[in-house]
């Protein structure tokens, strides 16, 4: 009896796996899109959302353009461990803070930048790239007080 039950569990598990693997997905392109090294940009905005995460952390800013129109931008940066080693700890930013982000635009035209250099509310600038991503200044992680 015991081996029959285990067999059923395994078969059921495999079926579920198969269903998941084959079920409908939307063509989701945004997050890990490649960034264009020829399109540097500076964003100044207030934080609306913070996601500390492996493999990449993200924070979202409400940015006003030259005409005064506001839009929300996503900024991709390194994982919590890497940022922490550069002196950027979790409590250093909160929703509503103003950040200056120097980075590069996503190739697919979405409102996403790869944050290379971030100026924190306390005035410090921190290197924001993901370690080993090959982007500008990768490997020379420095934080200026």
């Amino acid at each position: 009896m015991k081996s029959l039950e285990l067999k059923n569990v395994v078969v059921a598990g495999l079926l579920a796996l198969g269903l998941f693997a084959g079920s409908h997905i939307d063509a989701h392109h945004s997050f890990a899109a490649e960034f264009d090294g020829n399109k540097p940009v500076r964003l100044v905005g207030t934080i609306t959302k913070i996601e500390w995460a492996n493999p990449h952390s993200y924070f979202y800013l409400d940015v006003k353009n030259s005409k005064g129109a506001e839009s929300n931008w996503g900024c991709e940066t390194g994982n919590p461990g890497a940022l922490s080693r550069r002196g950027w700890k979790r409590g250093d930013i909160k929703i509503g803070d103003t950040l200056i982000v120097d980075g590069f635009l996503a190739k697919d035209g979405s409102h996403l930048v790869d944050a290379r250099r971030v100026t924190l509310p306390d005035g410090r600038t921190v290197y924001g790239g993901s370690p080993g991503d090959g982007g500008p200044e990768d490997g020379k992680t420095q934080s200026k007080p």
Binding site: L14, G18, H28, F31, W52, A53, N54, P80, G81, S84
Partner: protein, 163 residues
């Protein structure tokens, strides 16, 4: 099938999922164990497959090679599955949309089915595969398929990060 999406979103939001995702070093450790575990899973499977194909260790019977490796493969697979589940748990909501991940799971499933069919079909003959009795073409086909599937699984595992 938005049920799966909701399950994935729920998983990612749990304390375990969030804890791993927001960790300083835990995620990297789990990922490293997962990647190096390839040696004990795909590595051992590849060696047995290559033997069945007659490409190496031909002076030894298949049984001689399989017996000590089987335990390692299963141990390796448990570690891969556990670390894999934890990694999935931490970013289930994003992996839901990841095509490489979906295909990787499909290949894993296929590899499992291939292995199961192989065991059932060749269980008795395997004991005598050696210098004199050579595996049938059907068995070699299964071994070649196994190699191809595991190659795909590894490649797609790496491709997950590039989406």
């Amino acid at each position: 099938m938005t049920l799966f999406l909701h399950i994935c979103q729920w998983l990612a939001g749990t304390a375990v999922g969030t804890g791993i995702r927001e960790s300083d070093n835990l995620f990297s450790v789990i990922e490293t164990v997962h990647v190096l575990g390839i040696i004990f899973t795909a590595g051992t499977i590849a060696i047995v497959d290559l033997r069945i194909l007659g490409l190496l260790l031909n002076r030894y019977s298949v049984e001689e090679i399989l017996r000590p490796l089987v335990k390692i493969t299963w141990l390796g697979f448990s570690v891969m599955a556990s670390t894999g589940i934890l990694l999935f748990w931490s970013e289930a909501d994003k992996l839901y949309f990841n095509l490489s991940f979906r295909v990787k799971l499909t290949l894993l499933l296929t590899a499992g089915i291939n292995q199961w069919i192989f065991q059932r079909t060749h269980k008795r003959e395997m004991a005598v595969w050696g210098a004199v009795v050579v595996p049938l073409w059907r068995a070699k086909l299964a071994a070649a398929l196994s190699l191809g599937l595991w190659l795909g699984i590894i490649v797609l595992g790496r491709a997950i990060a590039y989406q």
